[in-house]
């Protein structure tokens, strides 16, 4: 077994930087506009109807919803970047196969790409956090720690979905993934309202969604206010998300190995 060297990972990562350098302009408007619209509509607009109280952990609705949207954005970036770009790299674009003919190993190709997905999550979350700050919805400098959390959330989706996408021959599963996993999580995992408002029977489902753990962490950090009586949960949230990343990477690594060296 050849060791995974960081230099090889960075070579694989560099590919995505070059691609991004050519395409980022096309994404700039959406990545600026979308946070502004969500925060204005949900935080300010809808928020004017919501009375802060127990349901919002004592926060204004804007303060409540902003960190939720931040985490949800990381989820969306992570789950998009790990579908079409991964399948395309195997099938349409050929860049994985090109790289596999060089000293890069399948593992280096995989980890370099995941690192890029983490970077995308970081870029989008940084923009989001800056806009949240501009809306005056941050209560503590600790909020900066919401960025690593966003990266972790992004990867907790990206790594397992990369394993899934890499094992596919067609893009047919991706719409279902959006419809039945990503969108429901966006709506029901604590972004817009506390999951304690959910009927008791479905609450446990919300607790196993990675987004819920991300939203909790994100909200704790941007508000500097630990979820009531449950500060000890923080390491568990982190561990849960880390575990998803690890499982995703382990499975994806096998798939990459099988597909790029068959």
């Amino acid at each position: 077994m050849v060791a995974l060297t960081s230099s090889h990972v960075m070579r694989s990562y560099a590919y995505w930087l070059v691609v991004y350098r050519r395409t980022w302009r096309g994404t700039v408007i959406t990545s600026l506009l979308s946070p502004v619209m969500y925060l204005a509509a949900m935080g300010v607009g809808l928020g004017s109807l919501v009375k802060g109280g127990n349901g919002t952990d004592g926060l204004t609705y804007l303060q409540f919803v902003a960190p939720g949207l931040l985490a949800a954005t990381a989820m969306q970036i992570g789950s998009f970047e790990s579908t079409y770009p991964v399948l395309g790299s195997f099938k349409w674009m050929g860049n994985y196969h090109a790289a596999a003919a060089t000293p890069l190993t399948p593992s280096a190709i995989l980890v370099g790409h995941l690192l890029w997905m983490a970077t995308r999550a970081l870029i989008a979350s940084s923009v989001y956090l800056a806009i949240i700050a501009a809306f005056g919805a941050l209560r503590t400098p600790l909020a900066i720690l919401a960025l690593p959390v966003s990266v972790l959330v992004g990867l907790a989706f990206a790594a397992p979905i990369t394993a899934f996408a890499a094992s596919r021959d067609r893009d047919s599963g991706f719409a279902a993934l959006q419809r039945f996993i990503v969108v429901p999580m966006f709506l029901f995992s604590g972004t817009f309202f506390n999951v304690t408002q959910l009927p008791a029977v479905i609450r446990p489902i919300a607790y196993v969604t990675p987004l819920w753990h991300g939203v909790r962490l994100s909200r704790d950090l941007t508000t500097g206010q630990l979820e009531p009586g449950a500060g000890w949960l923080i390491p568990l949230h982190v561990l849960y998300l880390v575990a998803l990343v690890v499982v995703g990477v382990v499975i994806a690594r096998r798939v990459y190995q099988a597909k790029l060296a068959k």
């Binding site: 050849v2 230099s7 090889h8 070579r11 694989s12 560099a14 590919y15 070059v18 691609v19 050519r22 395409t23 674009m93 050929g94 860049n95 196969h97 090109a98 790289a99 596999a100 003919a101 060089t102 000293p103 890069l104 190993t105 790029l260 060296a261 068959k262």
Partner: protein
């Protein structure tokens, strides 16, 4: 092996590739020496690409011995690949990136410093006559240009061994000649070339030595001239008859030449003296629609060895 005897760049014994129960490469033996231009000639499905992918260390052998540049692909893949240039059967270029970016990224994969990759990249673009397109995106380039770019890309790491899987398949004749010309220059510079093809003219033009491959096995090995001498006559008389009359006429020609092949669209007579043979045809009162006397080619070798045509 003695010290001064050069080591083969590729050494294979009983090399096998299986996909499930299917045997794509069925126990082949090979030695390719430095400086050679070596070819695999065979029809679609012969197992050429499967062999090339094993040599390129992107596909582990299922069985047998394989050593590339003296190293074992099973354990030394990255080290070997660092010294190979690969032109895969299907281009794996980044269509949205520019010509130059494609080279720079590839150089990066090999760990070349930016400046080196840039300088070498431009030299290579000049070599494949694409320097004026350096800043254009790849997408709109013609098939021949893309192929030349892939060849330039494969040379960015100054490889010891260049692997080309069907370098000109799908190109129009003019584009093929441009590619051949570039490959010929590389050959003259002493680059070791290993290529696959199902074009006999490509094999004849470029290869010092080749193997005829069919159904995962090597049917024969030698220089193009050797193979033709061994498996065919000097000349071939090609006779075309009206539809459905091949068999009848062939019967009348029994015994002429060294050998006869009756194909769906023509009858071939193999003889060292083609014109003399043709006279004998006329003497027997056989009147074909058209006649061609030509030299034997690798196509005839393939037909002799396998009973089938190279290109269906």
């Amino acid at each position: 092996m003695s010290v001064d005897e050069p080591e083969p760049l590729i050494h294979a014994r009983g090399l096998v590739k299986r996909f499930g129960d299917f045997v794509a490469v069925d126990g082949i033996d090979l030695d390719v020496m430095p400086g050679e231009a070596f070819g695999f000639l065979g029809p679609n499905g012969a197992g050429k690409s499967s062999t090339m992918r094993m040599i390129g260390c992107v596909s582990p052998p299922s069985d047998g011995v394989l050593r590339i540049l003296g190293l074992d692909p099973r354990t030394q893949g990255p080290r070997i690949r660092a010294k190979l240039g690969v032109v895969p059967q299907l281009d794996t270029l980044d269509l949205e990136l520019t010509v130059r970016e494609n080279l720079l990224i590839y150089g990066r994969y090999f760990g070349l410093p930016r400046a080196v990759a840039r300088e070498r990249g431009d030299q290579l673009l000049d070599f494949v006559q694409l320097l004026d397109r350096a800043d254009d995106t790849v997408e709109p380039l013609s098939g021949g240009m893309k192929r030349r770019l892939t060849i330039a890309r494969s040379l960015i790491n100054e490889p010891q061994l260049l692997l080309l899987d069907e370098p000109t398949t799908g190109l129009d004749p003019q584009a093929r000649h441009v590619v051949w010309d570039r490959l010929f220059r590389l050959k003259q510079q002493g680059v070791t070339l290993v290529l696959t093809t199902h074009y006999m003219d490509e094999a004849e033009q470029l290869c010092d030595r080749l193997v005829v491959m069919d159904k995962g096995r090597i049917a024969a090995e030698g220089s193009p001239r050797d193979l033709i001498e061994r498996y065919s006559s000097r000349d071939v008389v090609e006779l075309r008859f009206a539809i459905g009359e091949n068999e009848v006429n062939a019967e009348k020609l029994t015994g002429l030449g060294d050998r006869m092949e009756v194909l769906p669209d023509r009858v071939l007579l193999y003889a060292d003296d083609g014109d003399g043979c043709l006279e004998l045809v006329h003497d027997r009162g056989v009147v074909p629609l058209s006649v061609l006397v030509r030299r034997s080619t690798l196509e005839d070798v393939f037909l002799r060895l396998t009973g089938r045509s190279l290109v269906e």
